[in-house]
């Protein structure tokens, strides 16, 4: 018997309408667990770098994490993977909610889609009964709207539905896949779904998920719930309220937005508004949230309530949201919270990423102001900013007029517009819009995270180590006293000694060597979550989470029957991490791509930064161009990757990447908003 996983994938060829249930190789589970790990392996085996994002040969995989569907709290992630139209690399985006557990209970660890349907379709999976159904009548409908129609026509009110809206249908590069209270939003995977003419997947299951060592597993689950209760009563002192608890940042609960509104930047990631958070604003925004938020919501088998039902019309719930999407539209448009929550409803129906979309619209208005675009590009656009955002959103998701250009995201739009527009697409990493945050002094850890995060999103690599020192050393010592999460005691010393000002402050401290270890640890925790399907909100993201490197090996082992300890789990995780890197290296990712937005910090240190990258690449076992070396690949059991790299001339027998220095120099000359 297979434990935790079902042992089957569903292969769907949309071109031919062919459906197959395929048994998986347990060996792959022991090499990569599941979720992102096995998704990456399938991409390596089946999607060579010659295949691009909108080719029918590109796969779109909905992968459930290994522990999804077990009683492990928070184990509910669907890891969606495909070649991204935005980054042109292997993209992956995780969604919580209810989709993956339903998929597992229907009997599948993954749904693997290939080809392109001749006409719009949706997929209906009910245990062993699978149908590709006509979706012509749903094409053009919103994400939630179409999900509701599907549930009604199937007469299955509890089916989990993941769907795309107009943005995905029209292949907007930052289109999302929405699933009720959660979404796979980053890097435009909704556009790939639209390209495949797949409007939605509906799934309902009634089978068992088995765990290998039940008593042990349930004990760990119960311990985590007890710990969650403990943490609820004991928030972390000295940090912003949204970071004091567990889960994703508690944006639906916490009304105090001083930190975001005064420290993050407004408009097209430009304007810092010190003194914005007045009492008046606080009262008005609190009122808005309290009237529009009708209920706090959780994902499958998780007590954290990170999401909320938001009512913008007569319905008790018009849509659901979580996290920082609360403020992205508001801040991009220099508007108020009510505007942000209202337009987010429409944006959710259209299915766009709530980090990218507002920034693209603010970027368009900046280009207009700068004269790079003119009034003629915006015929009929209303005069006030709020209405302009609605107008732009509509053009973008329909790819009408200027909307067609903007639908490619800031980087690719700038490419099409020319005339210096790239200056305005200034907040991207790997061509993807980032959180609107601009800071003063470089921080070595964050430099490395921004540079090397394969996901191109800081929240997908940062995590358990505090973002800044606390005001006093005493507070730091109080924090580390009860911090078993770290891989080693020295991590505690690094935090205790970190200072806001003085010798041991940024950019010098934590040191390069400490930064390598901290960054590597935080990243590994995310990769573990992405393979198990554990929500980052209970593990890799918040401070002092219930799950960490010292209890995850036991949880994964008790659930799956694998026999893992910390060492083997870290080793396996590095295998997946370097396979993801390799997929992208094969697609041309190099050192030049490992760069933060040029203006992320005011004070930069080009030499130090290059030394840092060198050092971190060494630490990772990558060469000076960010490519895993033959020795590294061999140690990870990835010889097949090394062989491919040798064949393609990406690695040379002497292990040096060809022209590493030349490439770096060329990159510097190219600029493109990159560092160095």
């Amino acid at each position: 018997m297979r434990y935790a996983e079902t042992g089957y994938n569903l292969e769907v060829d949309l071109t031919r309408g062919n459906i197959e249930r395929v048994a998986t190789d347990p060996e792959l589970t022991s090499l990569h667990l599941g979720g992102l790990g096995t998704n990456a392996r399938l991409f390596w085996d089946r999607v060579p770098p010659e295949v691009s994002h909108f080719d029918p040969e590109n796969l779109l995989i909905f992968g459930a994490g290994l522990l999804v569907g077990t009683p492990g709290p928070g184990c509910n992630r669907t890891i969606v993977s495909s070649i991204s139209p935005q980054t042109r690399f292997f993209g992956f985006s995780m969604m919580g909610g209810f989709f993956a557990p339903e998929m597992k209970r229907a009997g599948y660890d993954k749904i693997i889609l290939r080809g392109r349907a001749p006409a719009p379709v949706y997929l209906w999976i009910h245990d062993d009964k699978i149908e590709i159904r006509d979706a012509t009548h749903l094409w053009g409908l919103g994400t939630l709207e179409s999900a509701e129609c599907i549930r009604q026509e199937l007469k299955q009110p509890h089916a989990a539905v993941a769907s795309i809206g107009l943005a995905g249908e029209n292949r907007v590069f930052f289109a999302s896949i929405e699933q009720g209270k959660s979404s796979a939003s980053r890097v435009g995977l909704g556009a790939v779904m639209g390209d495949k003419r797949l409007k939605a997947i509906a799934v309902l299951g009634s089978k068992d998920i088995h765990v290998a060592r039940p008593e042990e597993f349930i004990r760990l689950a119960n311990e985590s719930l007890a710990y969650i209760k403990h943490r609820e009563k004991n928030p972390i002192l000295g940090v912003m309220p949204i970071m004091a608890g567990l889960g994703s940042p508690q944006e639906m609960v916490v009304h105090d937005e001083e930190w975001h509104t005064e420290n993050f930047v407004w408009g097209n990631a430009r304007v810092r508004r010190k003194g914005f958070w007045t009492e008046e604003v606080r009262d008005s925004w609190t009122r808005t949230m309290e009237t529009m938020r009708t209920r706090l919501l959780s994902c499958y088998n998780c007590p954290m309530k990170c999401g909320a039902a938001i009512s913008v019309d007569t319905r008790a719930c018009s849509y659901m949201m979580k996290c920082f999407s609360k403020l992205t539209y508001t801040m991009a448009a220099f508007s108020d919270l009510e505007f942000g929550l209202r337009i987010a409803q429409l944006a959710t129906e259209h299915g766009v990423d709530s980090f990218s979309a507002p920034q693209v619209m603010a970027f368009a208005l900046e280009l207009l102001e700068a004269g790079i675009l003119t009034e003629a590009d915006f015929p009929g656009m209303p005069p006030d900013t709020n209405s302009r955002f609605y107008w732009l959103l509509d053009r973008i998701v329909r790819r009408e007029g200027i909307g067609d250009v903007l639908a490619d995201g800031t980087y690719w739009a700038a490419e099409r517009i020319g005339k210096g527009a790239h200056e305005y697409a200034h907040n991207c990493i790997k061509k993807t819009e980032q959180l609107p945050l601009k800071l003063g002094m470089l921080n070595q850890m964050y430099f490395l995270m921004y540079c090397t995060g394969e996901k191109a999103s800081i929240t997908q690599i940062e995590g358990n180590f505090p973002q800044t020192p606390f005001p006093t050393r005493e507070e730091q010592e109080a924090f580390t006293r009860d911090w078993p999460h770290v891989p080693d005691e020295r991590f505690k010393r690094w935090f205790e000694e970190w200072e806001l000002r003085g010798e041991k402050s940024i950019p010098n401290y934590p040191s390069a060597e400490a930064s390598y270890e901290i960054v590597n640890w935080q990243e590994a925790m995310h990769y573990i979550d992405d393979a198990t399907g554990m929500c980052a909100g209970l593990s890799s993201f918040p401070y002092k989470p219930p799950f960490h490197i010292h209890n995850l090996p036991e949880l994964i082992s008790a659930g799956s029957g694998l026999d893992l300890d910390e060492r083997s789990l870290m080793h396996l995780t590095k295998r997946t991490r370097d396979l993801v890197r390799s997929l992208n290296v094969a697609r041309g990712m190099r050192r030049v791509d490992d760069a933060p937005p040029a203006d992320h910090w005011k004070t930069r240190f080009p030499e130090l930064e290059q030394r840092l990258l060198d050092g971190y690449y060494d630490y990772k076992g990558w060469n000076r161009d960010g490519i895993p070396t033959r020795a590294t690949l061999h140690a990870l059991g990835l010889d097949y990757v090394a062989e491919d790299f040798l064949r393609r001339g990406i690695l040379r027998p002497d292990e040096e990447a060809p022209d590493a220095e030349e490439a770096a120099a060329g990159a510097t000359a190219r600029g493109e908003g990159h560092a160095s």
Binding site: R105, D208, V211, P214, L225, T294, R295, A309, A316
Partner: protein, 187 residues
Amino acid sequence: MSDSTKKVVKRIRINVDKCNGCRGCEVICSASHATPRYSSVNPSRARIRVIRDPLADIYVPVFAGEYTAAECAGRDQYTIDGKEYEECAFCRASCPSRDVFKEPDSGLPLKCDMCESDPTLEEPLCVQWCLADALTFERVEVDAGAGGAAAGVAPEEIDAGLEALAKTYGWSKVIDAVARMSRNGNR
């Protein structure tokens, strides 16, 4: 008011306003009723189901109640906030008219047993796993005569229930199920 006329009734209070739709109650109920205990999860086997309609903001945990051999003559139809709910949407019965509260493979009825076990649990498991406090547990004293269904099941009801089951599934299946469930600790 002597002790002989009073008895303690176990009750789970459901506050739908506090439910966040996580289905943790379904997860732990089904896991604890698996054989061996906790060896598998399947909300379709849970003795509690959360009726969900997110866009209408409806989250209603419903506990599996009595088995009925025949479906009701009259049906319930609810309208909440202007939306109509399918017949029987919020009913507790394991009933021939629908799939809910039946074992998905055998079709045998499921009923909440209040997590009766030896040793007795402090609180039923679904209550323990509902950190939102949508489910809370209480023991209340009631007059012995008025305890009714909530107080536990009278022997006549068991006979009637078993006969009804036998009519639908045949005695051998029922006996198998009873044997399996007692092995399972579901007494």
